[in-house]
Symmetry: C2
Subunit: 325 residues, 2 copies
């Protein structure tokens, strides 16, 4: 099959339908209508074999994650996702792979109202780059730099699961599978890595409530530190208030809070809220049925202090970086 035939078969009708798409796949570029009261939000993120996933990774997971990691960036801005471009480098035109990949990508796109409006297919080592455009009311976007000392620090969901799921999967593959954990716990943790949930509705609900927001891709501690640096604040984080899944607690035990802080690839939102808006936030989260945890508060200065039962304890994390040796 040619590139055009592959696009026709797997991608042309894959995404959501939107009436602001003047021209989608099939010309030199897509034409889109941006409402005059909105700002445009643009992001891109890539999944590269050997870095973000191992050879043989499930195409369903890759199709989902490639879009989810971009949805998460749009969510962290408080924006609504709208239009995606997909650049796929494929070693070969494998029908089964493309079928599963495109179904998973398309299912998430339709769920989130995202139209797939362009992209390209090239033969090459497997890597997937998605560009996602979103819309946000002008002046209403969440940024990293608006937090103040005294604000409360929150995180959604149960961070740490995804990284632990990946680590267990790699260990099982390496050792021939001598895992001693409950199958249901392993399945939960692995699913959090393979099928992360971008907190799109939460991000939009945080507009007017959160003073700053970031998505947790490289680990809660690392990404919280980025938000704090951009805002020129420090924070204290209480170990007892860190959220964790039952699976993580059973697998990681008493030191599981370290997994929660170090984590990575969680795609939860970490954000700050002025104390006066905390009650409004709790109502908004309840309406979304979205678990949130207040894990600490912001301080003057620039340090992050991790406390357990009021006692400062040591924690450091380098987070994930592709170019650190």
């Amino acid at each position: 099959m040619t590139e055009s035939e592959l696009i026709e078969r797997y991608f042309r009708r894959g995404g959501g339908e939107r009436d602001d798409v003047v021209l989608g796949i099939g010309d030199d570029a897509a034409l889109l209508r941006v409402p005059p009261e909105c700002e445009l939000v643009l992001t891109t993120d890539a999944l590269v074999e050997g870095r973000h996933f191992l050879e043989g990774a499930s195409p369903r997971s890759l199709g989902h994650r490639a879009l989810a990691v971009n949805l998460s960036d749009i969510a962290a801005m408080g924006a609504a996702p709208a239009w995606a471009l997909l650049s796929l480098n494929l070693p070969a035109a494998d029908d089964d792979w493309l079928q599963e990949f495109s179904q998973a990508f398309g299912a998430l796109a339709r769920e989130q109202g995202v139209a797939l409006v362009g992209g390209n297919l090239t033969r090459g080592p497997l890597s997937i780059t998605v560009q996602l455009a979103g819309l946000v009311p002008a002046g209403g976007a969440l940024r990293r730099d608006g937090a103040q000392p005294g604000d409360l620090l929150y995180v959604s969901g149960t961070p740490g699961d995804a990284a632990l799921g990946l680590a267990l999967q790699q260990a099982a593959a390496g050792s021939g599978g001598a895992a001693t954990y409950a199958e249901a716990d392993l399945a939960w943790l692995r699913a959090r890595h393979e099928f992360p949930t971008a907190r799109v509705a939460l991000g939009q609900a945080l507009r007017g409530l959160a003073s700053a927001c970031i998505d947790v891709s490289d680990g809660l501690y690392t990404d919280a530190r980025r938000l704090l640096q951009a805002s020129g604040c420090g924070a204290t984080i209480d170990v007892e208030r860190l959220p964790s899944s039952p699976a993580l607690r059973r697998v990681a035990g008493a030191e599981g809070w370290r997994n929660v802080l170090a984590g990575g690839e969680d795609y939860e939102l970490c954000f700050t809220v002025p104390r006066a808006l905390a009650t409004k936030l709790e109502s908004a989260a309840a309406a979304l049925i979205q678990p949130l945890a207040c894990i600490g508060e912001l301080t003057a200065g620039e340090d992050i202090t991790v406390c357990s039962s009021g006692v400062v304890i040591g924690f450091s994390s380098e987070g994930f970086d592709h170019f650190r040796d």
Copy 2:
């Protein structure tokens, strides 16, 4: 160096400055203002090692081409380029490579008024994906599907040079360099491959004049056929009217017109103009000092007929396709 440090050193101040960038590199996504009278134009194109360039390709050429191939898509829509995202998969953080790549990318971005507003760096087999957003007055974009029988068929510049330059470079590398052509001709042809010129000003000048437009990336014949198919027309093309560079004529000889039609990676514009607007077009092209050639005219039906001195001659081209075996 970490990913953040690499971005800081090579890319943060790399592009043009624009006052419609609310928030550029450094948050979860970029925030941009789209004028209410404009539609948004989105495209993406990738350069993958082993497909679009050979190992050891000049980083200056790659930095230029990665942006130029996207500028060309924006040009083909008659739009003005505005904001770019850059996703770079790099085998290693090579300072010299990054310096040259980012300088070439930045120089073209500044020349074209394009702000680099985001992207990502990942370790992996070398590939470069750029997403480019542009702006076009609502309803004014050039599309592939507006041509009519009787319209004149045009192409800009001298197609065929880039593909011939690449072929000669590959042949020289393979044979140890037994080229018998003039060095100046080889240099011209190679430069047309390594440093293509996207016809951005021409594309914008064609708004209101061209009935359809496409950029020539896979070869003039192949891309003209795409335009014709989208418009439901055929065409006759006169071999005598095909433009060619002196270098191509000297190197390729009497059959050089086949190189012009087959070509590939030219990044010229192929477009149609109603006969009544031809004079206006010639004035516009003269004002831009942009050589154009009228190479034929559109017909009812769906065939492309190639003629020399009024006699139909055989020509077919498959164009370039990554997935055809």
